[in-house]
């Protein structure tokens, strides 16, 4: 179950050239997880997301959602399946000429929902997203966050198994983004809906995702659970994204020599909270000053970074480095430029 992409690729044929938006890709997204896809614009994440509900027909490969091979369905069957794959958008894409109520009702009409139960269902959804009082408002009178809530209610109307989020918070301010992400998490938790979201913001991934795929140049270059992506990014592009969050740079006035070095220590898991620093001061005959430090909580698990300026005997600095390497749960981090 879940979502399976097998050998999926997408090539757009423009006037005189072909653009390979998505290279041959295999991807499994588990039932009930929140899978984040991160990448710069033009990385192909939007195409990949649209392949899942066949808004983009892949050039090759097949798309299997909860056991159903979507690309083998007739148009009519596909329509019915799409009702079980909700989607929300960066620009919300509400029908401006319909009220909040009518926007949600529209997708219920699409699935030929029982007319007598329609009003109940709409009210239920409005309650879920906290917009009962805006029922008769027009989209133009709503804030971005409220519009996205309508979008979410609409996407959930037909009790989907999967929710696709296309940069759903990119047009929102940071506070509203947090609220919407919290709502998505709640939906995932309470309703067990598999969520696939694409974003260019690592914050979003950190906030909600269970697993991440990093996209660059039309392919997924790295897939891992969120914690591993943050603690051990493999690919340069991933490192770039992770680095954005910590934003650590070696202060320009420090000149590194054998006897003056900048060492950044990474604290993993529960060790992020342990008192290794004490030990460093106690065991090594070195001048150690703290340049920068931060603990991030990723899915509730701490990940700490501490940037130190170490001065003293070169050999002793070597010992310090060995100590870091040999201690469990801490390691020397590279500062990726």
């Amino acid at each position: 179950m879940g979502i399976e992409l097998r050998g999926v690729s997408k090539t757009f044929e423009l006037k005189n050239r072909k653009v390979e938006a998505l290279k041959q890709t295999d991807l499994s997204i588990k039932d009930g997880e929140i899978f984040g896809l991160i990448g710069f614009s033009g990385a192909g994440k939007s195409t990949l997301l649209r392949v899942i509900n066949l808004l983009e027909r892949p050039t090759s490969g097949s798309v299997i959602v909860n056991g159903v091979v979507l690309d083998s369905l007739t148009e009519k069957e596909l329509r019915t399946r799409r009702q079980k794959i909700g989607m929300i958008f960066q620009q919300f894409n509400l029908i401006e000429s319909k009220t909040v109520y009518e926007n949600i009702e529209f997708v219920l009409k699409a699935s030929k929902h029982d007319k007598r139960k329609m009003a109940d269902r709409v009210n239920e959804l409005l309650e879920l997203v906290g917009l009962t009082d805006k029922m008769h408002s027009w989209p133009k009178n709503l804030s971005g966050g409220q519009k996205q809530r309508v979008g979410i209610a609409r996407a959930l109307a037909n009790e989907p198994e999967v929710l696709l989020c296309d940069e759903a918070t990119s047009a929102l301010d940071p506070d509203t983004t947090k609220n919407i992400l919290r709502l998505l998490k709640k939906i995932n938790h309470d309703l067990g809906i598999t969520i696939v979201l694409i974003t260019h913001e690592m914050e979003v991934i950190k906030e909600v995702a269970d697993r991440v795929g990093v996209m660059s140049d039309g392919e997924i270059i790295e897939t891992n659970d969120v914690y591993s992506i943050f603690s051990h990014p493999q690919h340069n592009v991933t490192r770039g994204f992770v680095q954005d969050i910590y934003d650590f740079v070696i202060p320009p006035h420090i000149r590194e020599t054998d006897s003056s070095q900048v060492i950044t220590i990474k604290f993993l898991d529960e060790n992020a909270e342990a008192n290794y620093v004490n030990q460093l001061y106690r065991h090594f005959d070195l001048d150690i000053s703290i340049l920068n430090g931060r603990i991030e909580y990723i899915n509730g698990m701490p990940l700490g970074f501490l940037m130190l300026h170490v001065q003293g005997d070169g050999g002793e600095i070597g010992n310090l480095k060995t100590f870091i390497t040999e201690s469990r749960g801490i390691e020397e981090a590279e500062i990726y430029e």
Binding site: R81, R82, Q83, N93, L94, S97, T99, F106, S111, W138
Partner: protein, 219 residues
Amino acid sequence: MSRLTEILPLLYRALLETTLMVSISIFFAVLIGLPLGILLYMTSNPLLFGMKPLNAFLGALTNVIRSFPFIILIVAIMPLATWLTNSSHGPVFASVALSIASIPLFARLAETSFNGIGKGVIEASIAGGASLFLIITDVLIPEAKRGITQAITLTIISVVAFSATAGVVGGGGIGDLAIRYGYYRYDTVTMVATVVVLIIIVQLIQIIGDFLSHRQEGR
């Protein structure tokens, strides 16, 4: 002044003829032009009913009809008009040509208002599993309502202008009155009167159209 009272019955009759021609033509313009506009729009959008050849064919067809100078169109379709109306002159007879001229005009204007609908809204509707029919009735038409209202206004005004030429087949109407009395007979009073009436009609249509299009809720 006495001349003015003299032509009053003529003017009244012409006004009725114009109203009749405009009503018939706008009825068919919307009845056939709106589906044509929808089809033009849908066949150009791969998410909806993307069919490039059909789109190209329909596009060419509307362009061909719109290329005809109206007077030539009237003459060219005379046999068809005779067959349809079972007569060879008069306002109803002229309405055939007027309808044929206004259908592609309205279709193109309607298509333009559909093009103004955000691509994202269409995408969201498709992603929601809506049928094409539901998208037409619940997305395309309501979202383009304002543009369509303006398109109807514009088409009516164009038909009023076209109808002046309808005189060649005895269509009558105000424009025809202006040409026959005012132009051919150098009857200045009639000409001024008819032009004034035409100005008032066009203004009225525009004002009503603007009022209706601005009244559209939710936008």
